[in-house]
């Protein structure tokens, strides 16, 4: 039986309060009230008094790991992390952007998150489909068991079945709609480059205004940069104002990486990101 949202919120407040009170962390990253219940916002509690402002409900989808890299190295941070969020934390630890010792991870096992825009359930279709955090120090509820375990890659079937031309048309139609607002990379916990390659002029990798060529360059390169690192939280697609299903492409790359390199992103802090690693016995077949 999964713990209720209300209960998780209570637990979150209690544990965050304890951490701040004991001075174990200087801030806790969590969710706070937005303009309505459906739009909670990322929230930073720096003192015991701030804790009351925390909320947790089915719309708290944002991946707070995104904010970890904002603070100076060595800042002690508590972070509320759902399943995919915890994988982002692991990935950031692998990349040495944060240190495990600097974090207190408040793990949230949860089932029944919803997309605020569509009110559809958020499940393996648009995320990694895990319910329980992979890493945590404190668990804010009981582990979720008994819910259907779905492959996060099943949703790819339709696009995979398309012919090359049909698939190109599909992506062209989708990517042509991109208005280059960069909400996807803003929402992404792994997109921490500053500046992003596409913002550079030397070299100029692609057009900056929204048009076919620049859009393609931006997105394809971004898919490559996230290969073996995307933890499939799906936030890029939820953040997208024109609803481009970026998650499909990320899932496909993640699936291929898993098959080729035998490791999924953000599952163990002892691994190295797949693309800055190799095995001598990697097969040449992966190039076919």
């Amino acid at each position: 039986m999964a713990t209720s949202f209300k209960q998780i919120e209570e637990n979150l407040k209690t544990e965050a309060g304890k951490l701040l009170d004991a001075g174990k962390v200087s801030m806790v990253l969590a969710y706070g009230r937005g303009y309505d219940e459906k739009h909670p916002l990322p929230y930073v509690a720096r003192s015991l008094a701030d804790v009351d402002g925390m909320v947790f409900n089915e719309y708290c989808t944002a991946n707070l790991a995104r904010y970890l890299v904002r603070y100076p190295r060595g800042t002690k941070i508590g972070i509320a992390a759902k399943a995919a969020d915890s994988r982002a934390v692991i990935q950031l630890i692998q990349e040495d952007k944060v240190k495990r010792d600097d974090l207190v991870i408040l793990g949230i096992p949860v089932y029944g998150m919803k997309n605020a825009k569509t009110d559809e359930a958020i499940d393996a279709k648009t995320t990694c489909g895990l319910y329980n955090p992979v890493i945590y120090d404190v668990l804010l509820g009981e582990e979720v068991h008994g819910q259907p375990v779905l492959s996060p890659y099943e949703v790819l079937e339709k696009v995979e079945a398309m012919g090359q031309d049909e698939r190109f048309a599909f992506w062209k139609k989708e990517l042509d709609r991109c208005i280059r607002c960069y909400a996807c990379r803003k929402a992404c916990p792994m997109c921490y480059c500053d500046p992003c390659f596409i913002d550079q002029n030397k070299p100029k990798w692609g057009e900056k205004s929204p048009e076919t060529g620049g859009n393609l360059m931006y997105h394809l390169t971004r898919f490559h940069h996230l290969a073996g690192r995307c933890i499939d939280c799906g936030e890029c697609s939820r953040a997208c104002p024109v609803d481009i299903p970026l998650y499909l492409f990320h899932k496909k790359v993640a699936k291929e990486c898993e098959e080729m390199f035998g490791q999924a992103a953000g599952m163990s802090i002892d691994e190295k990101p797949a693309l800055i690693n190799f095995r001598v016995e990697d097969s040449d077949k992966i190039l076919e």
Binding site: V159, Q164, D165, E166, R167, F168, A169, F170, W171, K172, F197, W205, T212, G213, L216, M217, L220, T221, F223, H224, A227, G228, F249, K252, V253, E256, C257, M260, F261, A274, L275, I276, N277, F278, R279, V280, D282, D284, I286, L287
Partner: protein
């Protein structure tokens, strides 16, 4: 006039580029559709180079490096193998014909192989026809 594809080659200095020189020294004949960029190591190849090449109108892209284990820089091509494999998967999933991008390990002594690969690849690209998907006109 029949379709003459433009093929971009990126070759590592130590193996494939030298192998291509050997093909010339031994006067092997192959189609003139390939234009080679020399880099020091196949690991230098940024995935965006490949995307860019197609945008520039390349009908095919051929990458050549040392055989895994023989890299002049020890492990460069082992990283390249993974990175280029992902590049290939991305191209495929975006709708690009898989045949348009190829990675081959060609050593400095494999002039024959170089010529053979160029012949084969050129033929394949010729059959695929002009690449229009990425090309920015």
């Amino acid at each position: 006039m029949s379709f003459e594809p433009k093929i971009l080659g990126i070759a590592c200095n130590w193996c494939t580029y030298t192998g291509a020189d050997l093909a010339g020294t031994t006067r092997l004949q192959y189609p003139q559709n390939l234009r080679v960029v020399r880099v020091m190591c196949s690991s230098r190849i940024n995935p965006s180079f490949i995307f860019k090449a197609f945008q520039l109108g390349a009908d095919g892209v051929l990458v050549g490096g040392c055989h895994p284990g023989d890299c002049h820089y020890n492990t460069g091509n082992l990283y390249a193998r993974r990175r280029l494999a992902v590049t290939k998967k991305i191209l495929e999933f975006s709708g690009m014909e898989p045949g348009r991008f190829r990675v081959e390990w060609i050593s400095a002594s494999e002039g024959n192989k170089f010529a053979e690969v160029v012949r084969e690849f050129t033929e394949e690209i010729r059959n695929l026809g002009p690449q229009t998907k990425f090309k920015i006109s």
